[in-house]
Amino acid sequence: MRVSARRRRLGKLRLRAVVLSLAFFAIAWLLLLGQLVSGHDPVLGSGSQSSAAAKSPADTRQRSSGSEPPTPQSVVIDPATGEAIPQAGASGAAPQPTPQPPPVTTSTS
């Protein structure tokens, strides 16, 4: 009888720990959601675009990390065909210089 009561007590303790864990996750989730909706997200910041302007996650989310995915390229509509032509190097990045061959060195003995 005492053993089963103890088991029940430990089971209750475990259940409480799991419920508290889930509650903590839910609170963190709601906090982050509130931060995002109110425009105070550390990554999206207050300069977030409106939902109407947000077309895709790549358009809206700009991270401060050094390793970011490439920014979308500019697109020009060809007046003759009406097709969109992506413009390489027009996304604000400076054009890469042509790589030069390494200098030839001669050794003199």
């Binding site: 720990a17 963190a28 959601l33 995002l36 909706v37 425009g39 207050s46 300069g47 409106s50 990390s65």
Partner: protein
């Protein structure tokens, strides 16, 4: 006051991952603290506020919840269209395009926590003494998790995160330091802080 309406839908997976990561950090810290308290009580051979069995039950439940949160933290990112890490990005160190080194530290920490945490269920097979000495290394992987959350956490420098993380991490870190100090003391056979034995002079 700056306020903007943000389309929440595309970021739901990202928010879920961040919340799970924060929860994993806090739960693992509390679980580690409880684990250290259990070991301390067992060594001292006396009871504290609760019994050793109480502490152990909560420690186990929190450890399993931590592992669930770590899994959710990684898997939620699979649904994030912006980051799009792929399975390799969340499972293989140094593959993720986002802060590869810090992410790798987190992946290694997650594997370590999972392996050492779940090894509890193979304790009879491993041997209790061996399992116990293995289980001590959980603290090392917890430290990797702390480093990962600071190095690659989106919310790492937000006041609320620092407050929550510090209140969970610092007590466990203090307990861990005390324990490591004890290990080092016994390993180096340092004298304990006992009163010096008075040498009686023989006349």
């Amino acid at each position: 006051m700056a306020s903007a309406t943000v389309s929440v839908g595309p970021h739901l997976f990202w928010i879920t991952s961040r919340a799970a990561g924060t929860a994993a950090l806090v739960l693992s810290s509390i679980s580690l603290g409880l684990g250290l308290a259990v070991a301390r009580q067992r060594r001292a051979g006396r009871g504290g506020i609760g019994t050793v069995a109480d502490y152990r039950a909560v420690h186990e439940a929190l450890a399993l919840s931590t592992l669930a949160m770590v899994a959710l933290h990684g898997m939620a990112l699979l649904g994030d269209r912006w980051l799009d890490p792929g399975v390799a990005g969340i499972a293989v160190p140094l593959v993720s395009p986002y802060r590869p080194a810090w992410t790798a530290i987190g992946i290694v920490g997650g594997y370590g926590l999972a392996a050492l945490g779940l090894s509890y269920f193979a304790r009879d097979w491993i041997g209790t003494a061996r399992w116990r000495s293995m289980h001590r290394f959980t603290a090392l992987f917890w430290l990797l998790g702390v480093a990962h959350s600071i190095g690659s956490g989106t919310d790492a420098w937000r006041a609320w995160f620092l407050l929550v993380a510090a209140s969970a991490v610092l007590p466990s870190a203090v307990l861990l330091l005390g324990r490591v100090g004890g290990w080092l003391g016994s390993a180096l056979d340092l004298p304990r802080s006992e009163p010096p034995v008075r040498q009686e002079s023989i006349r």
